[in-house]
Amino acid sequence: MAHQYKTRFGSLKDYDKGRVEPINDDVRHYAFSNCFEIAENSAPYEKVVFGQNMEYVMEVLRAEGNSPWYTCAHDEFALSMDGEVEIHLVKLEDAQTIQDTEKHGAITVEGDPQGTNMGWMKLGRGHQGMLPAGSAYQFRSSQPGVIILQTCKGDLSIERWADICQSA
């Protein structure tokens, strides 16, 4: 019989972090971190940058309870690495949309989102959802979970590299 493989995923409750083993280099140049460890040490929905490539970032969000309503001038994508999270979407009216179409990153919507209900989705581990440009979105999660966000660095992005990365 064929060998049964066990695929090892991580979670907030059960993860195993790797490491950089320097030979002749500065380990900080590898910006080595772990999304579950970051989420373990984050407040709900802090947008902690754990990857950046010029203006682009990957952020870790601890999903717990209801997030603020966010909106963004460009598409973003949310990947659940642990837990179930609902994403509710509203097509914003002009007054609440970001006027600068080149604006990078998400901002919070002032007050309740006004516009047409677009619907919602529920993501489990490994599911990736689209957060379309110009919509408002809210995350809702009854249990702590971990979301990875593909986006641009914006006003709400938090950088604490020295706290999250291996430094020696």
């Binding site: 060998h3 049964q4 493989y5 695929t7 090892r8 993860y15 195993d16 972090k17 790797g18 950089v20 083993e21 320097p22 030979i23 002749n24 280099d25 380990v27 900080r28 140049h29 590898y30 910006a31 080595f32 971190s33 772990n34 999304c35 579950f36 990857g51 950046q52 010029m54 682009y56 990957m58 460009h74 598409d75 994508f77 690495m81 979407l89 097509k91 047409t116 209900n117 677009m118 619907g119 919602w120 989705m121 993501l123 489990g124 581990r125 490994g126 599911h127 990736q128 959802g129 689209m130 379309p132 919509s135 971990v146 990875i148 593909q150 986006t151 950088e159 590299w161 990365c165 430094s167």
Partner: protein, 321 residues
């Protein structure tokens, strides 16, 4: 004209390529006119050649091993031997030659087609394909001409890259038989069916038929999520011309990071599920994946970056802290 082993010889500029039952033989003339040679395992050579062809010479350096490889200049390509090997370069036995991209691409495609035997798939993990060795025996054109799978916005959207299914010829891989195949719950209001969108990325990856071959699955401006499934050894040593990021989504990969000009060892990077790491632009790297694993390669594909790289303005390290 085929040689005694049934394979054609190829030449490009001052480089010559020949294969026999087990090996690829690369020969060149050094800058001061001496003959020089290098030998690679035929399977390893074809696995590297496959990536170089499929990725259009990729970003920066594609080292086939610590001696030969290519550098992409985005409409020309350098082919080199020994030029990024410290001792060989010091000894003056290296050669670098620049070619129009089309010339080297056409030659590499011909060589790949001629040297790949029936039953050997250079994209497959070693346990999942036949032998590359022996006298010339047919070809495997369907395996070596796979189109790259590139979403323009997100996998599964109408008109974009389709989901992988049994019916589309993408069964779940043996090493991912335990990966859940459930779909996200979608509750779009009428008219928003193509905007309230999600897909199961892990299920999509569990159905990848190839190894070490990134697809694009979601795109934000020039930020490309390029996940791939990895098993055994990355068949090239990649020297990027820009910072590159890896997010390990399951299982683990062990990376060697070496200096890209000389090959001197810099670090080992042990990545497990949930780990994020950058590869600085001054390194070259090769990964070892003991079990088939899911790796998110994250690339900045901004075409303007090429000018910053040429002028030295592009950052060498991902972040200062």
């Amino acid at each position: 004209m085929a040689n005694a082993h049934g394979y054609n010889d190829f030449s490009l500029g001052g480089f010559n390529f020949a294969r026999d039952e087990y090996f690829a033989h690369i020969t060149w003339e050094t800058l001061d006119g001496r003959p020089m040679s290098h030998t690679m395992d035929a399977g390893n050579f074809l696995r590297a050649l496959m990536r170089d062809v499929a990725w259009g010479f990729f970003y920066g350096w594609v080292n086939f091993d610590d001696v030969i490889g290519t550098v992409n200049h985005y409409n020309t390509v350098d082919l080199y031997a020994g030029s990024f090997n410290g001792p060989m370069k010091d000894a003056g036995i290296n050669r670098t030659e620049n070619f129009p991209t089309d010339d080297i691409r056409q030659l590499f495609e011909k060589m790949l087609a001629d040297w790949t035997n029936d039953g050997f798939d250079p994209f497959a993990a070693p346990q999942e394909t036949g032998s590359p060795y022996g006298h010339n025996n047919g070809d495997n054109m369907s395996a070596i001409t796979r189109a790259r799978e590139l979403a323009t916005r997100c996998v599964g959207l109408e008109g974009d890259l389709a989901l992988r299914t049994d019916e589309s010829g993408a069964p779940v891989n043996r090493a991912f038989a335990d990966v859940p195949q459930d779909a996200p719950e979608l509750h779009p209001e009428p008219g928003f069916e193509n905007e309230v969108h999600a897909f199961n990325l892990f299920a999509f990856l569990s159905r990848s038929q190839v190894t070490w071959n990134p697809s694009f699955t979601s795109v934000v401006k020039n930020s490309f999520m390029c996940p791939t499934t990895e098993e055994h050894i990355l068949p090239i040593i990649h020297g990027n011309d820009r910072v590159e990021w890896f997010f390990q989504m399951c299982d683990e990969i062990h990376w060697n990071s070496d200096h890209k000009e000389t090959g001197e060892p810099l670090a080992r990077v042990i990545m497990k599920a949930g780990d994020m790491a950058a590869m600085p632009a001054y390194c070259r790297h090769q990964g070892f994946s003991p079990k088939r694993s899911m790796l998110l390669v994250w690339e900045n594909g901004n075409p303007d970056l090429v000018d910053d790289i040429k002028s030295g303005a592009a950052p060498q390290v991902p972040v200062q802290f």
